[in-house]
Symmetry: C2
Subunit: 392 residues, 2 copies
Amino acid sequence: MRCAAGIEARQVNELAINIDPIQAGGRLTADAMKAVIAYGDGYSVCDNCRKPNRLDYISKPPIAEFHREVAAWLGMDTVRTVPGARRGFQAVARTYVDKGDPVILTSLSHYTEFLAVEESGGIAREIPAGADHIVTAEAAAQKAEEVRRESGKDAVLAIIDMVDYQYGNLHDVRAIASALHQYDIPVLCNGAYTVGIMPVDGKALGVDFVVGSGHKSMAAPAPSGVLAATAERAGEVFRTTGITGDVTSRKFGIKEPAMMGCTLMGATLVGMMASFPEVRERVRHFDTELANNRIVLSALQSIEGTRVLSEMPRKHTLTRVDTTASFDTVAQKHKKKGFFLASELEEKGITGIIPGATRVWKFNTYGMTTAQAQYLAAAFTDIARHNGLNVA
Amino acid sequence: MRCAAGIEARQVNELAINIDPIQAGGRLTADAMKAVIAYGDGYSVCDNCRKPNRLDYISKPPIAEFHREVAAWLGMDTVRTVPGARRGFQAVARTYVDKGDPVILTSLSHYTEFLAVEESGGIAREIPAGADHIVTAEAAAQKAEEVRRESGKDAVLAIIDMVDYQYGNLHDVRAIASALHQYDIPVLCNGAYTVGIMPVDGKALGVDFVVGSGHKSMAAPAPSGVLAATAERAGEVFRTTGITGDVTSRKFGIKEPAMMGCTLMGATLVGMMASFPEVRERVRHFDTELANNRIVLSALQSIEGTRVLSEMPRKHTLTRVDTTASFDTVAQKHKKKGFFLASELEEKGITGIIPGATRVWKFNTYGMTTAQAQYLAAAFTDIARHNGLNVA
């Protein structure tokens, strides 16, 4: 079935249990689906834009109220929407980073954080995660010292993933931020995997910025996200324009250069707004999500040779496993090679792992029902047994 | 009718003739509406992302093909999608502009171009438009000379609006680019009001970059747009990442820092793609759009005292008028004051002009049928007569 010329209608989340690591938290709610239809047209939210003519002041639809609510929800003072979390990193990096300035990331940082540093002319310095793939405050302090010693100046910014994309591990952002603040380094908490998934309180974490991703974790269309700041930092990153035209002497009101003016003018924003009540509610039930994850992980662990690479017990539903000594031994002899696993899962109505992957791979159980988790667990053990692996 | 808690379902374009200056070209096509439903989920286009893991390489949905087709359609070599035209300006400005560098804009430039210059640390230098609100190649050359003389260096970039947002006038980008190229200044053609509305051929214009807006003129959801470059410039603005992690020695493949990696991962992109066949067709029929504009403008001109501020004959459907000596004389005595005009239009099923505006205001007839243009024309003259103005 096509939705337009040459474009197949996507039905992945309608027809299958989707365990794709990055897609689980970005599926639209029913309200968001209705909202993107109603607000699909380009500048749809601008019908009632009045002075001072800025997106976050519009009250119909209730965009201004949404901004206030998200800020309060994240325990921060000020929020702006951005076209993806990466644009939040970019805005902050462009505010603090000049050419040659060191910026602290971690050995588990997402590539978009590196691009934000690169695009600002900065130098990326990674805090090494430990053997357990956890970033600690001690390692952060050591890195800050190392940067000071080697660069002759302190890092100008740190971006710390609350939960990293590689292992789905939860890092102690509060302790890390506290350590880095000893060096007066502003700390951005990358909540791309947490804001909209589990509770995030920027004040409790003691960070300067919290970034969230609409399309990754807030049940919103892409590209969307939020950048939240403390009152102290808001004036820096959300500074208003000062440029003038040399001929016309024009000025541009209260537009914000780091935001490039207004940000999300239609379906992306209203989609995020429409999902927000449900998103705000769902983060309160993250324990149920972890329970579902345990059901699936127990099944995987019962397959002889399978190793969980993420921290245990799990604190997030994104999980990395190593099946080199289980599913990959099947792949060595199977006529479909490594594709047998994705293929057999697909036959059972399960999608989202990289076709061909049978060694180290990731999955995300977020958003599934307990019945679906049980079905997924059984699917893994069934496939294992069917292919001659020992299941405890 | 609400589409979500606290959010009224928007029905502006279903219930009214909408003459909003910025909304006319961004209304979704029927195919785009279907596509945003099918691809509303966050990372919806990433189901079949394989190595080298970049948005513009994905073939299902046919994103790679769309990129090639848009480049050919614009007479350029390489295209990337961006979250709004402004993000195209930003990427180009960040590539060429260092602190204190002069950048040539015009006295009719859009505020987002100024923000792109400001955000890059540049200095905005405006080419003055003539008394007829047209920017000429002569004025461009004079400004380039003036910048050289006063700054001791040449401008590093010029951003020229093909059709400006203030008057909807068509500027001779080809001649302007030719003049600026004498100074080796890269020229970006801002096609926010033209790409997707009327034919744009970057090669014929002789420009280095063409930027288009999806939500303004390509019948796509916001934020979306395209940035097209010549082969010569593509390697500069679409340079690939060079940053590495100091601990992990990680590199990040062929991701592009000026794009911040992948750009539009879902509904915005597929909406733009779904509309593209119709958009490509509609630009061929811009003469019909101008004919409709003439119907409306003739009616406005028949109202004694009304002046057209845009160039005549019109070459674009966005038009600025001065009704200080017509509708505003009514407003002086009317109990609704300046709001009478928008109010009486609203009663006739017409929306999109700023409530209260009766002096200088803009409207856009793009996308209406001839019957709608005739209806709108009659509405203006009816309102004028009804309020005691002379109609020829």
